[in-house]
Amino acid sequence: MKSIKIKADNLNVYYGEKQALFDVSMYMEEKQVTALIGPSGCGKSTFIRCLNRMNDVIDICKVQGKIEIDGNNIYAPSMQVEQLRERVGMVFQKPNPFPKSIFENVAYGPRIHGIAENKSDLEEIVVNSLKKAALFDEVKDRLNDAGTGLSGGQQQRLCIARAISVNPDIILMDEPCSALDPIATARIEELMGELKTEYTIIIVTHSMQQAARVSSRTGFFHLGKLVEVDKTETIFSNPSDQRTQDYITGRFG
């Protein structure tokens, strides 16, 4: 068994009066892809946004319970959220490059964290990040062009490059392919296969095939509860819960 990177313990999340997550407990293994599946509104996005505390942005959101990354509770008062997000990168559903140049998009993270010592350092980080995101060859001649001028798939890979530019341990992907065509999706999935040698990846997806293709473990969420989490083969071939069975066979969701 691989070592455990993230461990959620009895996580409850509320949006105002409404409870969005009920007693979720699960762990995620280091340098593996963990997929979270489930019907819309089941809480899988809420859960992944707890892992880098993006939910802090929402005023009415309240989180109870514990999430440990490498044994440290990220909801402890001593945890600084900016530092956490440096270690836990995130890629969003809709590609959201900054309305700046491709270079600036990737250079922004290292710059604010003071990772690069000088200009050539920064350039090296940008080039490496773009290479790791399998985007460099396509944009190497136009690093000063606007990032928003790229195609959807390229924009999403730019966002992945932006996420890995600050050298995180973990990359969260919240339905990264839902706005992309099948070819761009295939490229991102291929990329995930490469990235998992270096990073722990958590992916929320609507596509069960995608979960089956890219992940080693899969969690199934339903109505805010984690119904089942297990090895991906087990979930898709021999789930232990009837609801999982119904969902993966397409009876609902």
Binding site: N52, M54, Y108, G109, R162
Partner: protein
């Protein structure tokens, strides 16, 4: 079957006809509005353009009569020239136009063809050309307002003499001068450079232009940073609760407060309590800032709100602090909108009159202000002041001032459009 098809065609025709009617209504409404704007512009332009040139009369001034040797002028300082007594000398130079006149009454009438500052104009000519004054110099002296208006055709000559400000004998003099080719037009530069005056031919908008510019500068310096920061705080940082709701409602209300109320506030607090100098662009600017702030805040908040939240999330997700996310990514995108709002707010402030009346910027100020702490008029107040004056000359000057004001407003709105076009983020 054919009945049904016919029915359909009928109903379609009805719909198309009503669409045609609707379009005609819309075009009609637009044309009506446009016609009024056109009438306004035509009216102002036709009565105002003549203020941009003025009538001057050529007079030969025999400087040799003032001094034995005209080269001596070059050794005199401006002070010395100011001390020269030139009044009767200048009058004699003007009498030289009609050497045959003997009667004192007629001479007085002749002098009145000129602006009362004729002596001063000759002195100024002497000062600026003192190094090479000939024995006799031809100087273009400003004609009096009555002559100016007659020359421009704005003044009826066929009224009874006792109903006219300009007398028959003066018209005789004038017509003779015209025949001799001594009367001419020139561009009215003094109108753009000078301050207000009791004499229409000497009054200028320079003072009120500078006053308006100082006022707008004060408004810009005060309300732009305050407005932008307030908007950023309210939109990005403030918690959404009763207090911020209350603030928001009040800012929106503030935008609808009649401007004269701000004038009362300025009178009561800024002048009386804080004792800042009356009638100055500084106070005017402070009062107008209060009025402009809500406009800027509302416009800036709207453009901040238009920035997609995904940009903020993108920045936060790489570990930016909230302030970094806002200042590095949200504000630059929102800036063109904020600037546009600011310029439109400034344009509003530029045309505002009522609050300035209350804080004393309605005073008669002759000097062009040098700093925002000097008493001054402003363009809209100048319009108000001149529109009340009886002399003919102020009619064209009122319209000309409105033209300047409209010119500045059009320029500012143009700047707003250009800024928006140039810096708008393309997605």
């Amino acid at each position: 079957m054919t009945d049904r098809i016919e029915q359909r065609i009928n109903s379609l025709n009805k719909r198309l006809n009503s669409e045609k009617r609707f379009r005609i209504y819309c075009i009609g409404a637009m044309s009506f509005a446009l016609a009024w704007v056109l009438i306004l512009f035509l009216n102002i332009f036709s009565s105002g353009y003549s203020a941009f040139y003025r009538t001057v009369i050529q007079v030969d001034v025999p400087f040799l009569n003032l001094i034995e040797d005209t080269t001596q002028f070059s050794e005199m300082s401006s002070e010395d020239i100011n001390n020269l007594s030139m009044y009767s000398f200048s009058k004699k130079a003007i009498y030289g136009l009609f050497p045959d006149i003997e009667e004192k009454k007629d001479k007085k009438m002749l002098i009145r063809l000129f602006s009362i500052e004729f002596e001063q104009e000759i002195r100024e000519f002497l000062k600026s050309n003192k190094s090479n004054i000939n024995e006799t110099e031809t100087i273009y002296l400003t004609a009096s307002d009555d002559v100016d208006q007659v020359n421009k055709g704005n003044y009826p000559r066929d009224l009874d003499e006792d109903k006219r400000r300009i007398k028959d004998i003066q018209l005789l003099f004038f017509d003779d001068l015209v025949d001799r080719g001594l009367v001419s037009y020139e561009f009215n530069l003094p109108f753009l450079m000078r301050g207000d005056s009791r004499e229409p031919e000497l009054a200028g908008v320079g003072g009120s232009i500078v006053g308006s510019l100082f006022t707008i500068l004060v408004v810009l310096i005060l309300s732009f940073p305050i407005g932008i920061f307030a908007a950023i705080y309210l939109e990005e940082f403030a918690p959404k609760n009763r207090v911020t709701d209350f603030i928001e409602i009040n800012i929106n209300n503030l935008a609808a407060v009649p401007s004269i109320v701000f004038g009362l506030l300025g009178l009561g607090i800024i002048l009386n309590t804080f004792g800042l100098p009356r009638s100055t662009p500084l106070v005017g600017g402070i009062v107008l800032s209060l009025m402009t702030l809500p406009t800027i805040i509302i416009a800036t908040r709207a453009s901040l709100r238009a920035v997609p939240p995904s940009i903020r999330e993108g920045a936060l997700a790489v570990g930016a602090t909230k302030m970094q996310a806002v200042m590095h990514h949200v504000v630059p995108v929102a800036m063109p909108g904020a600037l546009t709002g600011t310029i439109i707010g400034l344009a509003q402030a530029l045309g505002e009159t009522a609050p300035l009346l209350l804080i004393g910027m309605v005073a008669f100020v002759v000097d062009v202000p040098q700093t925002p702490l000097d008493a001054s008029a402003s363009l809209p107040v100048q319009v108000y002041l001149w529109s009340e004056s009886a002399e003919r000359g102020y009619v064209e000057k009122t319209s000309a001032t409105i033209m300047m004001l409209l010119g500045f407003l059009i320029l500012m709105n143009l700047a707003a459009v250009l800024i928006r076009r140039k810096f708008e983020t393309k997605w």
